[in-house]
Each structure stands twice: as C-alpha cells, then as structure tokens.
C-alpha cells in the first residue's frame, strides 16, 4: 500500500519519533534488566559504581563463578532452540476437541517443555561445555562473572518455595472461584436490561473504587475473633479465619468481583443475543443455553478475565500481609522481610534475587498472553 504524498513523514520527524520510542523502551525495561543483572553478581559487583562492572562482574569472576564464551554460546543456542521448538512444534500440538482437553494438553505440553528446557540447560550444556572449555584455550576461559548463589540461598536456605506454594494456592483459588462466580453474574447482567441490573453494576463500580485497606479494616477484628463468633453456629470446630489462605482467597475474590463482572459483562455483550434465543427456541433452559451455547464461544473473554484475576491475586500485597501470619506469607509480602532486614549487601542482593524470581512468571505470562492482555485492557475502555 502506498502512502499518499501529504501523509508521508519527513526523515527528521521519523528519526525523532524512533528516538523517542527507543527512549521509552529503555525507560520501561532498564529497571527490570538492571535488577536481573544485579541478581547474578556478587554484592561487590552488584553495587559497583561502574555500570560496566555490574554487567561484567569482575569480582564474581575472580571468585570463580564465571561463564566462558563457549558457555554463553551454548546457553543462548539452547534458549533459542527451545523457543523455536515451543512455538514451531509444541503449540500446534496443543489443539484438541473441547476446552478441557485443550487446557489439559496445554498443561502437559508446558510441563514437558519446561522439563526439556531444564534438562537441556542445566544438564546437557554443562556436560558439553566442560570438555570444550578445556580444549579450546582462550575461548574456554571464563569472561563473564555470573553466580546463582543468591538464588540458591533464597530458594533453598530461606525456603522461599513455601511462599511460592502459598502464592500458588491463593492465586489458583482466586482465579477459579472468581471466574466461576463472575461468568454466571456477568452473563446474567449482560442479558438483563432491568434497572436492578443497572444498580448492581453501579454499586459494583463504587465497590471497585474502595481502597482495600478500608475493607481489611472491616475483616480484621472479625477474622481474629471468628472462632468465638462462629462457635454458636459451628460448635467447637469453629476456625480462626486469621492466617488461613482460604480466608484470603475469599477476600480477594470478593474484592475482585466488581472488576470481574464488569469485564465479563462487556465480553458477554459482544456475543449476539440471537445465539441464546435460538438455543431457547430449541428447548434449552437459560442455564443450558449458557453452558452449551454461550460458554464455548466465551473462552477468549474468560481467559482474559482470568489473567487479570491472576495478576490481582499474584500482585496483592496489602490483603495477604494483613490477613496472613508473618511466618506463613505469600511471595510478595515475604520479600518485604528481605529488604527490611538488609543489613549486609548480601542480604540486598538476595532481596533482588527474590524480586527477580517473583517477576519471572509474569514475564512469561506477558510473553504468552500479550494479545489477551491488550484485548482485556481495551475491552473496558471501548464499551465504558
């Protein structure tokens, strides 16, 4: 397609535009790239005054943790091959009849992919690299300082996997419950034009604006004393809700509900009403029409909303830090313990390594679901 003469841009404008783009990309990525680089270096390098030293890590290298040119080339090759293999062969394999099968095959493929990558990266590469390093002389000498010791101390010595486990319980619970409850409500609201539905939506909008600490101020006394409050109903097994991941799930689902129903409603509205009507003519009840006719075409919307529920639960700091015990936290509140403790620079680099560990899954998430995230962000805006 040729661009009309008058719309064509002069080179100076093009240059300025691309320079600004470059500036924005650096601004957006630099803090994240930088903590990634710092997390692999010994503390002296990580907090070095010279940016070049932070990237190259001379001190880490002299401590005996380094990669040679051969290691780097092999590592990059394995990563590149895995990405290629993943997108070229594995993703098409994930096709299947029905949604459950598709989700299942996705899960199997993701696991298999992760396994292959781990074997390739941590077993085969060192195995191949060792003799190569010894035989290739200057190419085999370590040039880039890099150490995983901070990750080891975060994950193994400080048992960060327990926090990961809590985070996984909370996020899984929040996503499943809020989608189940939210799709039902979103469908009901999208298909009912009544004033009651309008008011429910408006009240949900007000609820969305509430600061979370306002709500937690309401739960906290009730949750701490819940054993006594619930005793008349549940007898002596009445649980203390404070410190229970289940309580956090319930709270996050409810906090998330207003947003979920607004988003799902806007997705349901984009599905023509004719579809339910023809199903109803064929003798379906409302619920059957919803389950067998609407839901199959609704999956993109559900996945998008699920992503945002996941983000809310995964990124939550306030609710978990107030409603869970300090010894039994999810990942994000747990990291505060690290940087509040930062007495030595080693502690600081460990905090950075923990931060990178928390960010890595989000990075993958954006990589895989970029399109869904963009469509979810715009869904709210376009339809109000």
């Amino acid at each position: 397609m040729s661009i009309p003469q008058a719309m064509r841009q002069p080179p100076s404008l093009k240059l300025a535009s691309n320079l600004f783009l470059l500036f924005w990309l650096i601004l957006a990525a630099f803090p994240l790239v930088w903590i990634l680089a710092m997390s692999f270096k010994s503390p002296v390098d990580a907090f070095s005054a010279s940016a070049w030293d932070v990237l190259r890590g001379p001190r880490t290298l002299s401590d005996g943790h380094g990669l040679s040119v051969v290691d780097i080339v092999l590592g990059v090759a394995v990563i590149w091959l895995s990405i290629k293999a993943g997108t070229r062969w594995l993703v098409p394999m994930a096709a299947g009849e029905g949604t459950l099968q598709r989700i299942f095959s996705w899960a199997v493929i993701a696991l298999g992919f992760a396994l292959l990558f781990i074997i390739g990266f941590f077993v085969i590469v060192p195995w191949v690299a060792e003799p190569l390093n010894a035989s290739l002389g200057p190419l085999g000498r370590p040039v880039l300082g890099l150490t995983t010791q901070h990750y080891e101390s975060v994950w193994i010595d400080n048992a960060f996997y327990e926090n990961l486990q809590n985070s996984m319980i909370v996020t899984f619970g929040v996503v499943t419950v809020s989608l189940t409850v939210g799709t039902l409500a979103g469908y009901g609201l999208a298909r009912s034009g009544s004033t009651l539905a309008f008011w429910i939506l408006i009240i949900a909008l007000i609820f969305r604006a509430l600061p979370h600490s306002v709500l937690v101020a309401g739960y906290l006394p009730v949750f701490i004393n819940s054993a006594e409050i619930l005793r008349p109903i549940l007898g002596d097994n009445a649980p203390t809700l404070y410190g229970q991941p289940l309580a956090v799930i319930a709270v996050l689902v409810s906090i998330n509900q207003p947003f979920t129903i607004w988003m799902l409603r806007s997705f349901f509205q984009s599905i023509p009403v004719d579809l339910d009507e023809s199903a109803r003519v064929d003798g379906c009840t409302h619920f059957q029409a919803f389950r067998w006719v609407i839901m199959p075409v609704m999956w993109p919307g559900v996945i998008t909303t699920g992503l945002f529920s996941f983000l809310l639960a995964y990124n939550d700091f306030l609710v978990a830090s107030l409603l869970l015990d300090a010894s039994n936290q999810t990942m994000v509140p747990a990291i505060v313990g690290y940087f509040n403790r930062e007495t030595t620079t080693t502690d600081q680099v460990e905090a950075i390594a923990a931060a990178v560990s928390i960010t890595a899954p989000l990075f993958l998430l954006v990589m895989i679901f970029q399109r869904q995230i963009v469509s979810g962000l715009t869904a709210g805006a376009v339809k109000g």
Partner: protein, 339 residues
C-alpha cells in the same frame, strides 16, 4: 429474563459482595464509633526481698489486665462517638495549629500529611500519565509493523509487574549508591542522598507511578488510534492542517472518551496508592491515606491493633472516594435514564 433466573445467575456474586464488601463497610462504620480495650484492674502487690536483719518489703500498685477462666484478656467495648475521628484528625494539635494559622504544623499530623501527599500525588501524576501514554501510542503507531509486537511486549512490562517489585526496582537504582544516583552525582558533581530527602523520595514515588500506569494509557490510546477516521484525517490534510493541528483537532477529540476513562481509572487507583510507600520505605517522609489505615491495622509492639482509629481513617478515606465518583456516576445515571 425472568427475575428468578436472573437471581440465580447473579446470586453467588451478590452474596460474596454483600458478605465481603458491604458487610465490612458496616462494621468499619460501627467500629469507628467505638473502642475495644482490655479491662485493667489495679492490684496491690507486696514484694519482699531478704534483707540483712529483717525482710525488706515494698508494696506497689500495678495495673494488670483482667483474665477470664480460660486465661484470655477480658475486653470491653465502649461507644466513644466521634473521638476516634478527632484522634485521627489530630485533636488538640489540630485546633492549636489552626488557631495559630500554622499550616506546617497541620501538615505534620499524620492524617493531613497523608491527605496532602495523596492529593498532590494523584493530581500531578495524571497529566504525565496521559501525555506519556499518548506520546508512546502515537510513536508506536508510527513505527514499522515488524517491531510493533516486541515494542508492545516491552511496554507492557512496567504495568504487569508486581507494584511492590516495580517500586523496588526503581528504588535500587536510586537509593544508597544506586547506579543512577552515581551517574547523577558524576553529572552534577555533587553528593546526593536520595533516601534521606523527602522531596526526592516524593519525586521517585511519582516517577514510579507514571512509569507503572503509562503503559495502560498507551494500550488504550493505541487501540483508540486504530479507529481514527482516515477520511477526516485526509480532509484535514487537504485543508492544509499541519501534523500538530491534525493531532490537536482530529485525533485528540476522537480520543476524548478514552482520556476521560483513563482519568477516572487513574484517579481511583492513585487515590488508593499504597505499594509506593512499602517499596520506597517512605514511611518517615511521605505516607498515603491507604497506608495510614494499614499502619493502624498493623499490630504494635504489644500486639494491639488500633482498630478504631483504622476504621475512622478508613471512613475519612471513603469520603474522598465518594467525591471522586460523584460526577461520573451522575453522568452515568443521566445516560441510563436517557438511553
């Protein structure tokens, strides 16, 4: 759809919202008017120490909490009216400061400090978010098709990342001998102590917020730019409009509903800013309204939480939300009745 079917679809969601949003609001309102405290009694305790000839005995009066049979402290709940609110607002300190016309003293009271910061934070970041978002959207729209995907990927990162971690990643660039601080020091050949300077911390918190929200504005504006009417643009070209005029008079009016939308979302979210305080550890310099409530809810050294003050500050925070939402809600209601 019949009411019964509607109720069955919407029921679970409504129930959750009633139990976990509406009900807590009521308890917060009630709690803000009452104080729950352990009951204390005074006991006379005689302690004796062996002396040289006779025992030395001293009697002292001690305050101890009353315990029930199970060994728990007995608490009492008193109706205190507005005194928790007065406490949060500063009480005597506030009246004294107001009678002296001393604004500085007012702003040293936690609540007013938090209010001042939250409002300036919300209002100052807003134009930057809109401007940066729009600029990036225009530039990405202008970029070659092949690089758009990766560019959008990188641009989304600041928005998707966990807010506390995002704030931390910027904190580590500046605090102490962070790399950017070192660069700035070399550039201006001065000594900078970012973490010790309240205004520097405030600037960093705003910078973080713009960095974090601009991608959201960008994605929305970018979607909006795809639907700009090309015919209008072409006729503007024929009429001799410059690029700037086309942006000003064609594109921006087209994006106006989106600008309103982003403004509304940003006001709601920035008003309840919280993660910045944690990420930048700015408690001693700058706090937000939501952090104030959070702080009251944290157990103190004796393990007590100031539920009543927390509830009062939560209710005061709510007033701001109501003011914020009044205008857009009135408009929605008019639209609903009209449409």
């Amino acid at each position: 759809m019949k009411f019964k079917t509607f109720a069955m679809f919407v029921g679970p969601s409504i129930l959750l919202m009633l139990v976990f949003i509406a009900f807590p609001l009521v308890t917060v309102l009630v709690n803000s008017f009452q104080v729950t405290q352990p009951i204390f009694t005074t006991q006379t305790v005689e302690t004796c120490t062996p002396g040289f000839v006779t025992q030395t005995c001293t009697t002292s009066v001690k305050t101890v909490p009353v315990l029930d049979e199970a060994g728990n402290t007995v608490t009492t709940t008193r109706w205190v009216g507005l005194s928790s609110y007065a406490n949060v607002l500063g009480g005597d300190r506030l009246t004294r400061a107001l009678s002296n016309w001393d604004i500085g003293a007012v702003l040293r009271i936690d609540f007013w400090k938090a209010l001042r910061f939250t409002l300036t934070f919300t209002l100052i970041t807003l134009p930057f978010v809109l401007a940066l978002g729009l600029a990036v959207a225009v530039v990405v729209n202008n970029a070659a098709r092949s690089i758009k995907g990766p560019v959008i990927f990188v641009s989304l990162l600041p928005f998707i990342i966990t807010p506390v971690i995002g704030a931390l990643s910027i904190r580590w660039l500046f605090y102490g001998d962070g790399i950017v601080t070192i660069w700035l020091e070399a550039l201006f050949s001065t000594d900078l102590a970012v973490a010790a300077n309240g205004w520097a911390v405030e600037f960093l918190m705003m910078f973080y917020r713009v960095w974090h929200v601009a991608p959201f504005a960008f994605v929305i504006f970018y979607a909006g730019l795809q639907t700009v009417n090309q015919d209008t643009l072409e006729s503007a070209v024929i009429d001799g409009a410059s690029r700037w005029e086309r942006l000003r008079y064609v594109v921006i009016p087209h994006l106006m509903p989106l600008i309103v939308f982003i403004t509304l979302i940003h006001l709601m979210d920035a008003y309840r800013a919280f993660e910045e305080v944690i990420g930048f550890s700015s408690q001693s310099h700058r706090i937000t309204l939501q952090y104030l409530t959070y702080d009251f809810l944290q157990p103190d050294d004796a393990g007590n939480r100031q539920i009543s003050s927390a509830s009062a500050s939560a209710m005061l925070t709510m007033i701001g939300v109501v003011i914020l939402l009044a205008a857009p809600l009135r408009r929605t209601w008019r639209d609903h009745r009209g449409g």
